[in-house]
């Protein structure tokens, strides 16, 4: 039990506009520390919807979600924001870097928000993360001066800055070419193996999924294999 960092229990979700469609139907599973999980399924099977519920960004669902032993139901928007800040790292299909800030500052932002370390320490930690991802030389550039693959690596560094309990990815390689996808996959793999980082990645790249520890396959809002 103590190793289970995320537990989903009977999660259901429906969209009501224009007609009620149930997109998630009694999803229950748990994630243990250090697991590298991929979620696969056809387009529209609800895997992204599930990810956003698990990430606490979507609060409109039935069922229980427990992260790090704490029930997420009935938490206020502000409390959920600090859960995301401290415990969850995100990597999306699009990098979502702020073009106004340097790469380094982009990585630092969630750390500054967490305010656990001083600004100096934060900067140092951000450098460390960039070094792990092999892009420390780009630290002072602006995001729009980087290539697509590099941007995605910056986004991963940003996800790592607060040493999150879990990294969630929504098609993190979806926008990348073969070579960059491979780089990103190896980064995830290294994080899982060397740093015991828990990862939950939604993907429709079956080859990517086949190389992860555990595959959750979804169909029509239900888990059919896990």
């Amino acid at each position: 039990m103590s190793n289970k960092i995320l537990i989903a229990n009977n999660i259901c979700k429906s969209f009501h506009d224009p007609i009620t469609v149930q997109v998630l139907n009694n999803i229950s599973f748990s994630i243990e520390k250090g697991e590298f999980i991929s979620v696969i399924g056809k387009s529209g099977c609800g895997k992204s919807t599930l990810l956003y519920i698990l990430s606490t960004m979507d609060t409109d669902y039935d069922g229980d979600l427990t992260i790090d032993g704490v029930l997420m139901r009935d938490k206020k928007e502000k409390e959920l924001a600090s859960v995301r800040n401290a415990k969850i790292g995100f990597v999306f299909q699009f990098h979502y870097l702020l073009n106004e800030f340097s790469v380094l500052k982009n990585v630092m932002l969630p750390g500054l928000k967490l305010n656990k370390y001083s600004e100096k320490e934060n900067e140092h930690r951000a450098y460390e993360k960039l070094k792990v991802l092999g892009i420390e030389n780009e630290a002072l550039k602006l995001p729009n001066q980087l290539s697509g693959g590099q941007k995605q690596r910056v986004a991963i560094a940003r996800a790592l800055i607060n040493d999150p309990l879990i990294i969630m990815g929504d098609e993190p390689t979806g926008n990348l070419d073969k070579k960059n996808s491979e780089i990103v996959f190896h980064i995830f793999k290294d994080l899982a193996e060397q740093f015991q980082q828990t990862l939950l990645i939604v993907t429709h790249d079956n080859e990517f999924a086949s190389r992860t520890n555990r595959i959750i396959e979804m169909q029509d809002g239900q888990i059919i294999k896990m």
């Binding site: 956003y52 979507d58 995301r84 999306f92 979502y96 106004e100 932002l109 500054l112 928000k113 305010n115």
Partner: protein, 419 residues
């Protein structure tokens, strides 16, 4: 620390759209500049116009009006006491317009702490003799020093030196229009005839210009002594006591009090000049309305620009929220942006407003009716700057409030999934 982060994010967003930000700030600057200038100018003008009359008007004026006695002899008779008595065609008693016992009244007023100054006055109706023609005129007998101290007499003497009136015996300061009509210069001797038919020769030592032509045609000034001589009265004979008091708002109350205490007639400044107060308060109201309208328009500019910024920065807002910034943080970021535009634009506006007022103050403004005014009047009241500053902050806050709230309510899921 936390606010520092929000401030640094706001700053980056601001500088990312520097042009738009500047346009918004210029809007605020412009409106505050106009607000300050308009109010300073309008209120300077108000002070000038009010001063035209009010500076020379006593706060309380004591006089003795010639009128029929309220109690007629029949009212005193025991026989007709319980009846209604009708007396037709009542005439005033033959008495002088003098304030009786004026010396005692003056010393009583001098002891009163609410009174800042008393200027006795004596009005004599005369004719100015120009050859065989007589022009009607009024000579005001004044105490030159007090008149200068309390009623800015010096400012209205346009030719000659006002103090000569005091030191030259049998001298007169003529109204400028009257002097023109009579074609006399300073140093000339004129002849006046009093209402009793006596003739006097007076030396012209200066011209007087009030700015109101009708007054300048008739009014002249001489010392109390000279005027008393003209009328053939003793040197305690005065017809008016002009009183200035510390708090002008007490005037109506004090007028009533003096009327009772000294058994004279008294009129206060508010009653005598009510139309001026109404005029200035409405002018002030209009300037405030225009100034605040300008600010509200600037507020809409800020509102638009923030709205646009929020649409542009949807992605950034979404990722900030995804990585742990709460709605309140996002709200604070945009409020900070709005307020910095307001504070920066407002401060510049106050500065420019001061500058523009200064420029206006140096524009020549010559009008024959206002001899003492050489440039446009400006009132540098710190109150206007305070109101301008506060209003710039309030309007920009309100302009930022709704867009910020919208930004804080952005659902990151919708933005991120939409990609």
């Amino acid at each position: 620390m936390k606010y520092k982060l929000i401030a640094s994010i706001s700053k980056s967003l601001l500088f990312a759209r520097l042009k738009q930000t500047l346009v918004a700030a210029i809007g605020v600057t412009f409106s505050i500049t106009m607000f300050i200038t308009l109010l300073s100018f309008m209120s300077g003008m108000n002070d000038l116009l009010d001063g035209l009359i009010l500076n020379r008007t006593a706060h309380v004026r004591l006089y003795n009006e010639i009128k029929p006695s309220i109690k007629q002899p029949i009212d005193l008779s025991d026989k007709y006491k319980n009846q209604y008595n009708f007396v037709s065609s009542v005439k005033p008693k033959d008495e002088k317009a003098e304030i009786r016992n004026s010396e005692a009244i003056i010393s009583a007023l001098k002891a009163d702490t609410r009174v800042t100054g008393i200027a006795p006055k004596l009005i004599a109706q005369v004719f100015y003799n120009v050859g065989s023609i007589d022009l009607t005129g009024t000579i005001n007998g004044i105490d030159v020093d007090e008149e200068a101290r309390l009623f800015f007499f010096k400012n209205y003497v346009v030719g000659g030196n006002y103090i000569d009136l005091k030191y030259t015996p049998n001298s007169i300061i003529l109204g400028i229009e009257a002097a023109k009509k009579m074609m006399v210069d300073i140093g000339s001797i004129i002849q006046v005839t009093t209402s009793k038919g006596e003739r006097f020769q007076l030396k012209v030592v200066g011209y007087f210009q009030s700015g109101i032509q009708e007054i300048d045609k008739v009014q002249s000034y001489a010392t109390l002594n000279t005027t008393q001589k003209l009328l053939g009265e003793s040197n305690s004979y005065i017809t008016d006591l002009q009183i200035k008091i510390t708090n002008i708002l007490d005037a109506p109350m004090m007028a009533k009090e003096f009327q009772k205490k000294f058994e004279v007639d008294a009129i206060d400044i508010q009653t005598a000049n009510s139309q001026f107060e109404t005029g200035s308060s409405i002018r002030t109201l209009i300037s405030y309305a225009v100034g605040i309208t300008l600010l509200i328009v600037a507020g809409f500019g800020i509102y638009n620009i923030l709205n646009m910024m929020i649409y542009e920065k949807m992605d950034s807002i979404a990722i900030l929220k995804a990585t742990g910034f709460s709605g309140k943080d996002v709200n604070n970021i945009f409020i900070t942006i709005a307020l910095s535009i307001g504070i920066f634009g407002g401060a510049l506006g106050l500065l420019f407003g001061y500058g523009l007022s200064n420029v206006i103050e140096h524009i020549p403004f010559n009008t024959p009716s206002l001899p003492t005014i050489k440039t446009y009047p400006i009132n540098y009241n710190p109150k206007f700057y305070m109101i301008g500053g506060v209003f710039s902050i309030i309007t920009t806050y309100l302009a930022g409030y709704f867009p910020s709230r919208k930004a804080s309510k952005i659902d990151p899921v919708i933005i991120i999934r939409g990609k």
